[in-house]
């Protein structure tokens, strides 16, 4: 509200003369935005340019000798495409389970009258501030027989204390107690209240936290490096890090067939674009939910 007023005020007092400081500010912001966009335009241009143009170092922001051989090599090879599909499934399962567990913790803990609430909170939050460390966790996964399975990428990370805290804060501040009380009078159970009243009212926070979980899983690869050896179980980020890990030496690890088609550089650009495009496509639509989550999280956490 206050901001709107301020903007109106500015519009009234100063819109007809644009000052030098306005120009400087716009220039700085534009410059910073360019640093976020140009690398991807360059990469995209490179990925559809001809081998000759790329090795001639003449590709800047526009493609030269447009062709899609690198992409067709990626699809022919199939490895990255398979991994993309696998990672989508992995991320979906992870997000759904994560949201269930998070809700089941956040809803009871949002009840101020719940006995033992502080102890439960402490048990949940402690893991965030004091981790057991890589080796004890590795041995735990080993003794649970989870090594080299898809579940090792899901179960240990699916409960995020931070996300739980955000959800708890949201439930406490946004769901009026009176709603639940009247449902109680009608004889509803907590499960019914959660399912029929609380969750429908919590759609924005569910969207936000689902996205937090999904992006977190999509981008992480360290746990795959620790726990997974079977190639078909590796998420796309790990595959990508393996394929281009020697990028400073221009060495590539995509199958032989693909190497003949284009130079490592074009192929590498295409691979990075292939893994980035889904995010760039979804991102503008989901961005506002993220902002909401950070705002709620900023209250505490």
């Amino acid at each position: 509200m206050a901001k709107k007023e301020k903007e109106n005020q500015e519009r009234v007092t100063g819109v007809n003369h644009i000052k030098i400081s306005d120009i400087i500010i716009v220039a700085v912001i534009v410059l910073l935005c360019l640093t976020c966009i140009l690398p991807f335009i360059h990469l995209a241009a490179k990925s559809i340019s001809s081998t000759a143009a790329v090795s001639g170092k003449s590709v800047y922001l526009l493609p030269k000798g447009i062709n899609f051989e690198a992409y067709s090599a990626i699809f022919k090879d199939g490895q990255l495409v398979y991994s993309m599909g696998y990672t989508v499934v992995l991320t979906a399962i992870f997000t759904i389970l994560g949201m269930i567990v998070t809700t089941l913790a956040a809803y009871p803990l949002s009840k101020r009258y719940l006995k033992g609430r502080n102890i439960f909170s402490l048990i949940f939050m402690f893991t965030m501030y004091f981790g057991a460390g890589l080796i004890p966790e590795y041995l735990l996964m080993k003794s649970l027989n989870l090594l080299d399975t898809m579940w090792v990428l899901i179960l240990p990370l699916m409960f995020s204390p931070y996300n739980m805290l955000i959800m708890k804060t949201f439930l406490q501040s946004s769901i009026p107690d009176s709603l639940e009380e009247s449902a109680f009078l009608d004889g509803a159970t907590h499960f019914q209240i959660l399912w029929k009243i609380v969750l429908p009212l919590s759609k924005p926070i569910i969207a936000t936290l689902s996205l937090f979980y999904a992006v977190g899983r999509w981008n992480a690869y360290a746990d795959a490096k620790y726990y997974i050896t079977t190639k078909s179980l590796q998420p796309i980020q790990y595959l990508l890090s393996n394929m281009v890990s020697n990028s400073s030496n221009d060495a590539m690890a995509l199958s032989e067939g693909a190497q003949f088609v284009s130079t490592p550089e074009v192929l590498q650009a295409a691979m990075v674009m292939f893994a980035t495009i889904p995010i760039i496509c979804v991102y503008p639509f989901v961005q506002k939910y993220f902002v909401k989550g950070v705002m709620i999280g900023a209250v505490k956490g």
Binding site: P39, L114, I135, V244, V291
Partner: protein, 319 residues
């Protein structure tokens, strides 16, 4: 079923001690819900804590816990004489500290600049663009950066060389001192946009009448920033600064691993890398566990100290 509100009122008027059984009977559904996340946390997090005893044993994977002998603090004495560990610790502390000093102020300045923008649509679009790097994995960020900054084929070097500004590519990411600067600045780039959200939220909370009054008094833009906007976000700044101070012991494996190459090992070798290489890759479980425990403990102490300090200053604190 009686109303909860009524029960609460009665309790408030005449507090009565009730047994655990009473509460379990009353709220059993809530406890049943809690059971699931509780089991998840106990099985997948807490069950790992007993493994920390490896730090006080000469742990042999083949013999297991039962067959390995206890050695007290011998492992810790060893790691503090270990040159690799000292190097990893030094790098972690220095790089995290520099990260904090360099990366921390940028979102504040950027948020103030965004707030000063007069054109709402331009502001919205630029915010969307500036948040983007936050959503990309370190693998992708690193690859994009290599594509931009490689000495022989990187775009930046190509432009500089093709225009005759330099004769040979600058090894932005393949020489340790250049790498140290690039590594830090890339972090600034990745975090600057996202970091503004909290400050913009704080700025939204400032009373608009203050700006109106300042306008009437003829204050210029700089004066308004200095005397209205900055005091309005100072509290947030202090809290965030203290929270971040608690993190100087951490190290991000994915970030380090993605920017790894032979030429920069000297600086890239930080605690997360040490633990991974000595532990999982080198099978020296006791040593890696001890370092992990040291890192976790110091981290916890820093967080608690930061929280205590924040509360002393009258801020919210984090726990």
């Amino acid at each position: 079923m009686a109303s909860k509100a009524k029960k609460g009122q009665i309790m408030a008027v005449q507090p009565r001690k009730r047994g655990i059984g009473y509460y379990i009977q009353k709220d059993w559904q809530l406890y049943l819900m809690l059971l699931i996340p509780l089991v998840v946390v106990l099985v997948f997090k807490y069950a790992a804590y007993p493994g920390l005893r490896m730090a006080f044993m000469n742990y042999k994977p083949a013999k297991g816990y039962a067959g390995s002998e206890w050695v007290g603090f011998e492992i810790f004495q060893k790691i503090f004489k270990d040159k690799d560990f000292i190097r990893a610790l030094r790098n972690s502390l220095i790089f995290n500290f520099v990260d904090l000093i360099v990366s921390f102020p940028v979102p504040i300045v950027l948020a103030i600049l965004l707030n000063e923008l007069r054109f709402p649509r331009f502001k919205k679009v630029s915010q969307t663009i500036l948040y983007l790097p936050h959503f990309l994995s370190w693998v992708i960020v690193a690859n994009v950066m290599y594509t931009m900054f490689k000495p022989d084929t990187g775009l930046v070097n190509n432009i500089l060389v093709n225009n005759g500004i330099i004769s040979e590519g600058i090894p932005f990411l393949t020489e340790k001192w250049h790498w140290a600067v690039s590594y830090t600045l890339i972090n600034v780039w990745q975090t600057m946009g996202w970091g503004t959200i909290i400050y913009l939220a704080a700025i939204t909370g400032i009373n608009g009448e203050l700006y109106e009054a300042a306008n009437i008094d003829g204050a210029n833009r700089w004066q308004k920033i200095l005397h209205i906007t900055w005091p309005g976000i100072k509290g947030t700044t202090v809290t965030l600064l203290i929270m971040n101070l608690g993190k100087v012991m951490g190290s991000n494996f994915e970030r380090l691993d993605s920017f790894d190459n032979v030429q920069v090992r000297e600086f890239q070798y930080q605690l997360a890398i040490y633990i991974y290489e000595k532990g999982l890759a080198g099978n020296n479980f006791s040593k890696a566990t001890a370092v992990g425990l040291f890192q976790s403990l110091v981290g916890l102490i820093l967080v608690l100290a930061a929280d205590w300090f924040a509360k002393r200053l009258g801020e919210d604190g984090l726990i």
